[in-house]
Every structure is written in C-alpha cells, then in structure tokens.
C-alpha cells in the first residue's frame, strides 16, 4: 500500500449536481493521490456514480471546481476528459460492435482533420501491442461484436493506457465478471497503480474493496460521509456509514401465517441464461432472490411471467403445472411482476397516471370492451389513496411524478389484479429512503394478506430485513437457500460470488 502524496493529484472542491432541481450530490470535497486505488462506496443512488461521471466529463457539476496537479480544470466532455488523461470505464463498456477492436481502441483519440488518413497498419500494430502489454489475447482485427464483457473492459483499459490516462475510473467493473476475470482485472489495476496512475474503483463488494483498494470514500444520499484508509474501517463501520444507521433498525417485522405452496418451480432452464432452477414460495411468505447483477435472477422472473419463456422445466401454480407463454396468461393465473427497469418495462411515460394504474385490468374497467370512465376513475383513486401516491391529478402524465411515486403507481397496477403471487424485481431501486420504508411496510402487509412474494434485490439489508428465506443465484444457477435465522450478508455474498470451479 502506498502513502498518499502530499500534493493531491486530483482535487475536487464543493462539487454539487442537480438533476431537474433535485440535488443528487452536495458539496463533495475529495482528494485523490497519485498511485492509489481509491474506492467509492455507497448505496444505489448515493451519488458515487454521479461523482465519477463528473470527473469523466459526462456530467457537468452544478457547482464546484476540479483541479489536476494543482491547476483548475474544466472537464466539459468525455473527449476533454480524455485529453486531460481521465478515462471512465463503464460497467457495460462503450463499444462500437461493428468496428474492429483496434478501431474501438483508437476512436476519438486523434484530433486530425476529417479527411486525414486512418493509419490502419500502425493502428493495428499499436493496438495489438497494448493488448499484449495487458497480457490479454484478443485479436484486434476482429469486430468488437461477440467479445465478452471482460474482454470489452480490457479494450477500454487498453484505450485508457494508449492515451496515457493517469486517472482511470472503473464503475462497478466486476459485477458481470467471473472470479478469474476479476483476478486478472485486479492484477492489472495493481500494476497500473504501481506505475503511478490513480484508479477510482466503484463497487458494492466489500471484500473486493478490501482486496484491492488503498483508501475508500463513502457516499450517502448525495453527501460524502467519510474518506479513510481501508485498514482503519471495519465492515460494520463501512455499512453503518453507508446506510447511516445500524443494520438492525432496518429489520422489519411481519408476522404472516405461512400457508400452502403457491408457486413452485422445478428444473427451470433457459440454455445460456439459467439452469435447473427449483424453488417454491408459499402463501404469506416472502422469499428473497439475491445475487449479483447478471446472475440470471431477472431472467427467471421473466420466464415465470412468460416474457421470455423457459425452454425446460415446470412451473406450478397452486400445485397445478401450468404453461405460460405470455404475460397475459400469467396474469390470468394470478401472477404479477413489478419489473426491474421501471422506465423501460413499467410506465407509459406520457400517458395519465390513471391509465397507468389500470393498464393490467382491462376487464374491470371495460367489461364489454367499452371503457367505463367512472369505474376506472374510482379504481385509480382508491389506489392513489391506499398507496399514498403523491400527484396533482390523475390526468397527469406519469412521467411527471417522482421515481418513488411512479413505482407506487406500478405496484398499484399490480395490486388491482389481486394477484396471489407477486414477483418484485428490485422494487426500491432509485427510490428515496423515506419512500423505501413505505415500500417495506407495504410488502410486509401484502404478505400478511396471504400473498406469496418473490423479492429480487441486490440490496442485502433489504433481503435480510424482509425475507423469510433467501435464495441466491450465481451465473444462472441457484447456489444457496438460506433460512431467515441463518441469513447474513456474508452467507449471501459467498453464495452470490461464482465459485472458481463454476467458471469455465
């Protein structure tokens, strides 16, 4: 581990950022030293990614200044950042699938005129050399399409090195990687540090942060709450700083009577996506489904719901084997799914809140096919009151509501269906802390009404607090089933991280 230099390499002062009037980052001061690996930690939406994007020129800060080697800098665009030697490596790397690896490597580096020559030969040789330098074997003449995520990250890193970046920001790079790929990445990161470069590493995984990083900065709700050497902080300290209160307070008590098996899945398989998934959810039970992003959890939910049906295995509802090819059929069987990506799969952004709420119950609002406005309105009004959705008017486009209220409206849509089985995929992602608590209450309340609930979440405290059992997936397989009494962050994590044998 290296000592932080006396003169900071990068220094941020009073960085603030607002989106549409909502402040997501407040007065952040942060110094990065030369030759250190610096972790940014925090819950989803805590501001760490926003900060990273400001460093990389993707967002402009609303207030505040950045300086590099003591000089104030203006990072007005990603290209400007590149010129200053700052590179951001996205979790899903930016790539141009139809261009060759070599072209992906050099694109945007040169500032020559439009009609200047593209030096194919030199470019290819140089690209191959940078890949060799990293110790990865990728044919640089092949198109980017078809490269694994890990290889695409390597191309990004090679890109950063080729333009001699001195500050490399990695935004959750390890989430989609296998352990072996993670090791390779860490090896390279350490080497770069030893060359005197600075690396900012964003991750949710504490053990990775411990293994790799020298210092850590913790964000919470848009504030920087701490910066310290990693050795000075225990895991408990870090978690406390991240969530702002001891873990215990999160625990929500719900006492539902656990009844018959409502949903049973046996040997569910979709080749290349998930394999041999078996579990059951009982009435009144909240079953968590944990794992890393990309482990196949969402795909399992989508298969059960008929969005992308599985090719093998059996789904049983109330003990009867069913065949679901379309969400419509799932709904008819009493299954509801609150999808992960609200904007893409949940809301009809420009349509009124009312129509968003009633979208899944056409038969109730239009028994004869003709919409009965009075029925529709009263259904929507009841939902708004019950879930305390804040809005100005039911005619308001749902896109104008806050994220939490949008999510409530989507939940309301599914409660109108009166499902016996409710699948919630990351229901609290991107939602205010306060509204989150409301959601937790609601989920508990639904379980005590006798609904079987499958809760997919990447947030450990959420799983630990709410669930009667936690299932864990890794790389498309179910790796653990943990009872509430035995559940801990460590057990879930160790099951979620793919084992070395499993990695091909």
């Amino acid at each position: 581990m290296k000592k932080a230099d006396a003169v900071p390499f990068v220094s941020a002062r009073g960085i603030s950022k607002s989106f549409a009037g909502i402040e997501v980052l407040r007065d952040v001061d942060l110094d990065l030293a030369k030759g250190e690996i610096h972790a940014l930690l925090g819950e989803n939406g805590a501001g760490k990614s926003t900060f990273a994007k400001i460093l990389a020129g993707i967002h402009l800060p609303t207030r505040g200044t950045l300086s590099l080697d003591g000089r104030t800098i203006e990072v007005s665009s990603p290209v400007a950042a590149q010129k200053l030697g700052i590179t951001l490596i996205h979790q899903e790397p930016i790539s141009f699938p139809d261009l060759s690896v070599a072209e992906n490597l050099v694109l945007g580096r040169s500032e020559d005129g439009w009609f200047s020559r593209v030096p194919w030969a030199e470019m290819t040789i140089e690209a191959q050399r940078s890949m060799d330098l990293l110790g990865v074997h990728i044919d640089v003449a092949r198109p980017m399409r078809g490269l694994s995520i890990a290889d695409q990250q390597m191309v990004e890193i090679a890109r950063a090195l080729a333009s001699d970046s001195r500050l490399i920001i990695m935004d959750e790079p390890t989430a989609p990687l296998t352990p072996r790929e993670v090791e390779t990445l860490f090896g390279i990161a350490r080497r770069l540090r030893d060359e005197g470069r600075t690396i900012v590493f964003i991750s949710h995984r504490l053990e990775e942060v411990r293994a790799l990083c020298d210092r850590v900065t913790i964000f919470r709700d848009g504030d920087k709450v701490a910066t310290d050497t990693i050795g000075n902080l225990s895991d408990v300290d870090i978690i406390r700083l991240m969530i702002g209160r001891p873990l215990k307070e999160y625990i929500h008590k719900h006492s539902a009577e656990i009844g018959e098996v409502a949903l049973e899945v046996q040997g569910l398989t979709l080749p290349g996506v998930f394999h041999d998934i078996s579990f059951s959810v009982r009435r009144g039970e909240i079953v968590g489904l944990g794992g890393l992003v990309g482990a196949g959890r969402t795909d399992v939910a989508r298969a059960i719901f008929g969005v992308v049906p599985a090719t093998g295995g059996v789904v049983k509802v109330d003990g009867k084997a069913v065949h679901i090819d379309e969400p419509e059929e799932a709904i008819a069987l009493g299954i509801a799914l609150v999808p992960e990506d609200r904007a893409a799969a949940g809301i009809f952004r420009t349509l009124p809140v009312e129509q968003n709420i009633t979208a899944a119950v056409p038969d109730r609002i239009a028994p004869t096919g003709v919409i009965r406005r009075a029925i529709e309105r009263s259904l929507a009004q009841d939902s708004v009151a019950k879930l305390r959705i804040r809005l100005a008017s039911l005619n308001q486009p749902i896109g104008e509501l806050s994220g939490g209220n949008q999510q409530k409206a989507i939940l309301a849509r599914w409660l109108l269906v009166d499902p016996s089985i409710l699948i919630l995929d990351e229901p609290t992602r991107g939602i205010d802390i306060g509204v989150k608590a409301e959601f937790y209450d609601m989920i508990g309340e639904l379980a005590s009404q006798g609904k079987a609930i499958l809760l997919i979440s990447s947030e450990m405290p959420e799983l630990l607090a709410l669930c009667d059992r936690v299932l864990v997936m890794a790389e498309g397989r179910l790796t653990a089933e943990i009872a509430r009494s035995e559940a801990s962050q460590e057990r879930i994590m160790s099951a979620a991280v793919p084992r070395v044998e499993a990695a091909a």
Binding site: I94, F96, W114, F115, V118, V273
Partner: protein, 328 residues
C-alpha cells in the same frame, strides 16, 4: 478462423456466388447471356445506380435512409439541362459542377431537417421526394429538355470509350466507387460514420460530431444524386420532369441492401454494394432475354429488398447467438 474461412464467410462472397449462379442459370436457358455483348449491356445499366448507391450506402451506415435520391437526380438533371438549353455557349463540363452543386444543396436540406428537428429521415425524405419532384415540374414548366439541347460531348461520354470499348461513364462510376472506398475506410470522418451507425448513443462520447457527420452523409447522397443526374442526361440524352429519376430510389435501395449494407447501421462495404449493383444489373439484363416484361422490374426490386432484410436478420441473429455463447 483461417484466411480462406474468412473470405468464405464474407457477405461479398455470397453475392458474388449469387451472381455467378444466376448468370449460369440464365445461360443454360439462353446461352447468349454469357457473351461480351451482354456484359456490355449489364455494365451500361449500372453506372447511375452505382453512383447513387455509394451515397445511399453511407446514409444507411449512419442509420438513416434517403428516399429522395430519385427526385434529387431529377431536379439537378433538369436544372442542368435547362442551363444547357438556355445558355448554349456554356462549356459542357460546367454542367457537372452545377448538377453536383444542386444535388449537394438538396441533400443538405434533408440533412438539416433530420438533424436540427430530430425527425425520422424516412418521413423527411418522403416529404422531400415529393417536394423536389414538384419543384422539377415548376422550374421546367412541365416541359422536357430535348435531345438537341444536351451537348454532344456530354452524350458522347456514354458512347465513346477510352479503353476496351467501355464508355466513359462506367469508368466514372468505378472511380466514384473507389473514392467512396477511400473515404469510408481510410479517412477519419468515414470511420466516424460507421461508429455513429454502430452505436449512435456512444458516438458523441468518442468525439463524433453527430450533427456534422449526419449533414455530411446526406450532402454526399445529394451530391452523388446530382452526379447521377448529369450522367442521366449523358446516357439518355434528355431530361423529363416526370420520368427522370422516378422510382430510382427503390432500385438503389434494393441494390444496396442486397449488397450487405445493414438497415441497422454500422455495416456496409463498397465491394458488397458494387456486387449488389451488378447483381441487379444482371437481373435487369436477363429479363428481356427470358421474355419477362420490363414491368416486372419493380416487383423484383421489392422482392429483393424483402429478401435482403431476411438475410440481414439471420446474419444479425447469428451474431447475437455467438455473442451469447461467448458470454455463457
């Protein structure tokens, strides 16, 4: 993958094979199809399409489409023809500059509408397709520019040959193709067009100036349509407000997509487009020999576009499957 495998897997190889098979099949039925003379016929059918196809390729690679090329061809040919008629002493070579200039201007209008108002190019160019055609009638008063007004030297370019009996305009078409190849593969902006079409969201993050590049591809498409316009005057010796360039867009789009340019942007090669144009030329030349009326041509263009879409889709599918396999 070895070198041979790579060559075989290329889309261009597939089209070349299709051309050969098609020619063989036709010649079984009509042996005269495989003669030098019919090659001449085929080659004479292609230069206009080839030139406009190069522009259309760049537009498609940038994830747009230009439906107005036939009307741009018509309008620039008409204005140039009228210039020859009304100002007979003007040197005929100047016609090229005028026609290309007008085409560029019209293309820029398309590009400006697409970029500044963020409109789908297909609707914009459907509008300008009609707008430019209407303007052609207006400027010409719906009158044709007749044979006697087109300079003899210009017409001569389609008849006289510098080499091997191949007329000038065919050499010009190949020159345009070569130039396009250089532009698309060996200039920075050329590669930026591919980057833009391959990932439009990420392109600006890599310093691609989206507005300028989009304007440029539409301008090029217009310029090449303008060039095709004056070559129309050379090839046919007249300019007619309703016929000149009418329905040309479908021929060109058919040739381009069968030549392997993806409608999803980012993919396309000059060689593939040249072969696509050649294949369409073969089909057009074979029709009269086989006793199929020329009226069937439009149906064939339509069928070719649909078939090319299907090929494109299956290629993409394979790509995705391979991608998934790589991840799994």
């Amino acid at each position: 993958m070895n070198a041979l495998g790579r060559i075989l897997a290329r889309r261009e190889t597939g089209i070349a094979v299709m051309i050969v098979l098609f020619a063989l099949a036709v010649s079984l039925y009509k042996p005269q199809f495989l003669t030098l003379n019919s090659l001449r016929v085929i080659l004479l059918l292609t230069p206009l399409v080839m030139i406009a196809a190069m522009g259309q390729m760049l537009v498609l690679v940038a994830r747009h489409v230009d439906l107005s090329i036939g009307s741009m061809l018509g309008l620039s040919a008409m204005l140039t023809g009228m210039m020859f008629r009304d100002l007979p002493e003007i040197p005929w070579g100047l016609g090229f500059a005028v026609s290309i200039g007008i085409g560029t201007l019209l293309g820029l209008v398309n590009g400006a509408l697409v970029t500044f108002f963020r409109l789908p190019s297909i609707i914009v160019t459907l509008g300008t397709l009609n707008l430019y055609r209407g303007l052609t009638f207006i400027v010409s008063n719906a009158r044709q520019v007749d044979r006697q007004f087109i300079p003899a030297d210009l017409k001569g370019m389609s008849q006289t040959s510098p080499l091997l009996g191949i007329p000038w305009i065919i050499f010009m078409a190949f020159a345009v193709a070569l130039l396009t190849y250089w532009f698309a593969m060996h200039t920075r902006v050329g590669r930026q067009i591919f980057a833009l079409g391959s990932n439009p969201i990420a392109a600006p993050l890599r310093g691609v100036k989206v507005t300028q590049v989009t304007l440029l591809v539409f301008a090029i498409s217009g310029a090449l349509s303008g060039l095709a316009g004056i070559m129309y005057a050379s090839r046919w010796g007249f300019v007619n407000p309703s016929n000149t360039g009418f329905g040309f867009e479908f021929q060109v789009i058919a040739a381009v997509v069968i030549g392997g340019v993806s409608i999803n942007g980012g993919v396309g090669s000059v060689l593939g487009v040249m072969l696509g144009v050649l294949l369409m030329g073969c089909v057009a030349a074979a029709l009269p020999l086989l006793g199929i009326p020329g009226t069937a041509q439009s149906a064939i263009y339509g069928a070719v576009i649909l078939v090319a879409l299907l090929i494109d889709r299956s290629v993409r599918r394979q790509g995705i499957a391979r991608f998934k396999a790589a991840r799994a």
